[in-house]
């Protein structure tokens, strides 16, 4: 049996043969993680050339913190190992290890502080309001496809200074790179080439016509007194374009999905929008979209597990967020939860650089949606579909809003 054939077969034993792209995982991964947490806290699968799956907060945190034993050089589990050499990786700083990582991250962070992000909030709000205006008067709308997915695409295009009309292309790049990890190697390569050719054209335009946006900021940025390597610039722009779209779309969609199915929570947020910032932390905990990955650097025994060099390790932060050792009533969604050390944006030095942007988009998206549609419900619970793999969120979410 080839690797490709093996990966396409359905999972029957999650402790020894799991596959994070299996439809059962996409539809509802929580029972899988709950079971593993108590029976087999670090599971293993031969798929993708070898993958480990910790499900408790403790081990997930330990691996996220241990950049000596675990590398970030590739963070999307697939059939191939990274083609781009260390230390930078394909999309710095997410794919970089220390010490290169620190400089690559430091130059990016000033553009993503809460204060910097607050400057893009009026644009985000105006765009969300335009979207809901287009939906008004309809009985049934797909909140994933007609609302959630557009918001992060438009906002990052604005920040990077890319044409808004290319939004459909961005979504195609994202789907290809992040959701189609089980595609054949040649097809994945072609998708990456299309993305990088597009980005190069945008970069060339910014070199000719510098302006006040993130692309020109990166082109002018220096690390250790030197301009950035062209591969560094294009890799970071690819990261900014890809990392914030699928993820934030998923978080907005999952939050709206929860509220469609929990009228009491919805009524509470409509009556008291000042609770929204607290509620979104709980949505981020309970429905964290992102599972990260690491590569094992060298053969070793780790917590009793015989790990081999270049084995993958999945870091399911949404599972860490449901660990009863870490959270009271971990399986309950409590929108005014006070103590909430969730790991939706990761832990340690790779904490999501866009977390303040994601939070702003999620808050504004919910504020605008709830103000426009205080009453809504699932039009057909069975027709809701979820993306699988490492970014999980609703991809079809038909709601009755009329």
């Amino acid at each position: 049996m080839t690797i490709d054939e093996h990966s396409s077969t359905r999972v029957t034993d999650w402790a020894t043969d799991f596959d994070h792209t299996d439809p059962t995982w996409a539809a509802d991964p929580y029972p899988i993680w709950d079971e593993l947490r108590s029976t087999c806290p670090v599971a293993h699968s031969e798929r993708y050339g070898g993958v480990w799956l910790p499900t408790r907060h403790q081990e997930i945190a330990e691996i996220a913190y241990d950049t000596d034993l675990f590398s970030s050089q590739s963070i999307l589990v697939n059939e191939t190992r990274p083609l781009t050499p260390a230390p930078m990786g394909i999309a710095p700083p997410i794919s970089s290890d220390p010490p290169f990582h620190q400089g690559a991250r430091r130059l990016l962070l000033p553009a993503f502080t809460p204060r910097a992000i607050s400057l893009i909030e009026p644009f985000t709000r105006a765009y969300c309001e335009k979207l809901v205006e287009e939906l008004r008067g309809q009985d049934t709308v797909d909140a994933a496809q007609a609302y959630s997915q557009h918001i992060p695409v438009r906002v990052i295009a604005e920040m990077l200074g890319f044409p808004h009309k290319d939004a459909d292309d961005f979504r195609r790049f994202v789907t290809h790179v992040i959701e189609h990890v089980d595609a054949p190697e040649e097809e994945r390569f072609e998708g990456f080439m299309e993305l990088f050719n597009y980005l190069q054209a945008q970069i060339d335009d910014h070199i000719e016509n510098p302006r006040d946006d993130l692309t020109s900021y990166l082109l002018a940025a220096e690390m250790d007194g030197e301009p950035l390597d062209p591969d560094h610039v294009i890799g970071t722009i690819a990261l900014l374009l890809l990392a914030g779209i699928d993820t934030t779309w998923s978080a907005i969609g999952a939050s709206i999905w929860h509220l469609a199915d929990h009228p009491e929570d919805r009524a509470r947020l409509v009556a008291d929008p000042s609770l929204i910032p607290t509620a979104i932390e709980e949505f981020l905990r309970a429905y964290a979209p992102v599972t990260m990955a690491r590569l094992v650097k060298d053969d070793m025994e780790w917590n009793g597990c015989p790990m081999k060099k270049d084995d993958w390790v999945l870091l399911p932060f949404p599972s860490a967020n449901r660990d009863p050792e870490m959270f009271d009533d971990a399986d309950q969604v409590i929108i005014d939860r006070e103590v909430n050390r969730h790991a939706a944006f990761g832990l340690g030095i790779h904490r999501c650089a866009g977390s303040h942007l994601a939070r702003m988009e999620l808050r504004v998206a919910l504020e605008v949606w709830l103000a426009a549609f205080p009453e809504f419900s699932l039009a057909d619970p069975d027709s809701v579909t979820w993306s699988g793999g490492q970014v999980r969120g609703p991809r079809s979410l038909p709601l009755t809003i009329g």
Binding site: L109, F327, R341, I349
Partner: protein, 81 residues
């Protein structure tokens, strides 16, 4: 009460300065610092404890004025094991 952000642990989640902006502030990278010398007036103690209890990295250290160093707590830790 006094607070201190452990700069080795803080990676800029920003929960503390979002929940207690009178006690914590972001630096130019979005990482957190205690404001001034970290002393917390009584009326802000609850907010400071809430901020500490929401740090994913356990980076906020609270010292109670009447506690010895041995009794310093690293959080308001209602749920951590």
């Amino acid at each position: 009460m006094r607070v201190h952000v452990d700069r080795e642990k803080c990676v800029g989640h920003g929960r503390c300065y979002a929940l207690a902006p009178q006690v914590f502030e972001p630096d130019d990278l979005g990482n957190a610092e205690e404001i001034g010398d970290g002393s917390v007036p009584p009326e802000l103690e609850a907010k400071a404890r809430l901020a500490a209890a929401n740090c994913p990295e356990m980076a906020v250290i609270i010292t109670d004025d009447n506690a010895t160093d041995d009794n310093a707590t690293d959080d308001a830790g209602a749920t951590t094991a």
